[in-house]
Symmetry: C2
Subunit: 286 residues, 2 copies
């Protein structure tokens, strides 16, 4: 009802995106950040490796962007005023993979986190993140959980995220690590949240008008429990299966879009030509 109005674009990547071939997902982030005019800051905070940050830098710099890798490994670095200015003035900010809890526990409440929000909400900077970097963007994030397709009461551990994406919860490495169970378990806790599960080498681009576009090799799964008729999640003790009745599921592939406000899939033009046939492979209902 009362949502933060963001001016920036988000590129949520499910991890393991192509970095050596046509790099299509990273190219989309680069384009949305302003292309050759982009000032990009890579934040490798989630990871333990500086080499990872430098790999992204090499890619974005080769394409013509002005790119900096900003190493932040403790809270005093995250409160550095110069770093905050650099983040606030970036056109593109990219969060690498690793551990999402490292991102929030080191950046939460600091000048750099505040600069990131200002760049995104006020100046309209593009923010991209892969794996942990994607998970940390939502207001509510999953930090760990069990593998499997059956939702269980205690299978998902949650924490407060950076809050760039309100009303949603992002999960990544989605099909590869069988995470539908934990995402269902998370949305059952509060069906106001839309669950977004993103496969590896796949991205969900969320524009300021809350349209989500899928691109990449895998799928993006949307779990909409707002019309859920019944759940027993509050009655269970660990680790019993959670019942969810009437959850709407969308499994979307490259070229499909989803209207987050209306909670509705938008078919690509090529698919609309086949409108007589129900698109069974793309749209299911649980």
């Amino acid at each position: 009802l009362v949502k933060k109005q963001a001016r920036g674009h988000l590129v949520l990547i499910g991890g393991a995106e192509d970095k050596f071939g046509d790099k299509r997902i990273l190219l989309e982030f680069f384009r949305l950040s302003g292309g050759k005019e982009a000032r990009i800051v890579v934040l490798p905070t989630a990871s333990r490796s500086t080499a990872l940050g430098n790999l992204y830098k090499t890619i974005f710099t080769e394409w013509g962007a002005d790119c900096t890798v900003m190493s932040i490994d403790n809270r005093s670095e995250a409160d550095n005023a110069q770093k905050a200015v650099q983040v606030r003035e970036a056109n593109g900010i990219f969060l690498t993979g690793g551990d999402q809890l490292k991102i929030t526990s080191l950046l939460g409440g600091t000048r750099v986190a505040s600069a990131l929000c200002r760049a995104f909400f006020v100046r309209g900077a593009t923010v991209g993140g892969t794996s942990a970097g994607a998970a940390a963007m939502s207001a509510h994030m999953i930090i760990s959980g069990s593998r499997g397709s059956i939702p269980r009461r205690g299978m998902v551990e949650m924490a407060p995220g950076l809050g760039l994406l309100s009303g949603m919860i992002v999960d990544q490495h989605f099909s590869q690590r069988e995470r539908i169970g934990r995402l269902l378990s998370a949305v059952a806790r509060n069906p106001a949240l839309l669950g977004i599960g993103i496969d590896e080498n796949t991205a969900a681009h969320v524009s300021p008008d809350r349209m989500l576009s899928v691109f990449g090799n895998g799928t993006v799964t949307l779990v909409d429990a707002s019309k859920m008729q019944y759940t027993n999640v509050y009655q269970l003790t660990n680790p019993r299966p959670v019942v969810l009745a009437n959850v709407t599921l969308h499994v979307l592939a490259d070229g499909f879009r989803y209207d987050i406000r209306r909670r509705k899939t938008v078919l690509p033009e090529t698919a609309e030509k086949l409108e007589e046939q129900p698109i069974r492979r793309v749209l299911h209902r649980l």
Copy 2:
């Protein structure tokens, strides 16, 4: 940085508030809801007992309010349009104690939840809640955890709350159930959040200008980790103790106020007269 601007007042109660004596906390909620002019809706969704809802109704009705107990025990009742209208037009909405996960999993994404947000954010209705009802109001809520004063990695289970209170996390029965450890553990995950621990028969009134006032018999503890220098929360595996360096703690009693925006205690006039002496019993630093 970008906060929801609420027009309503919140009355967060730590549970077990006096219902048979001077009922001071409930009286404050009644007064903030408009007193004798108030239309109050009691939502006993968290509890299993209709008697509890009726007890509140008796109290508010005796004081002269127009009070309804709205029983919602499944999601289709929570989507009832007439109930939603009644909630949207209330001046005061009161959530009883019980299980906070029952509140969010039954109400989340429904018409009644949406009406509650509209009443609070747009029309400026007062929303009160005790125990589970207080926990559910924040955007991030604690649903279970272990007792004790040492914060541990896996000691706290979180879920998305109703979102009336942004940037904060509320815990209740705070001193009585030794919950400082789990609240510290929760804010370490993202120090942007302010932790609020409320004792039994004690309330925190949060006004639209983000001033928090304490009233009642116990204390309200504020855990501000925004200046936290160091945490190892992301490095731990369960259930090792979490290190938090430089967390600011305020333990406030009746009559004290806290400026949430400035993260600063405001002394009552009587205490200001003692300004020469540091108020050691009230303001600590960890």
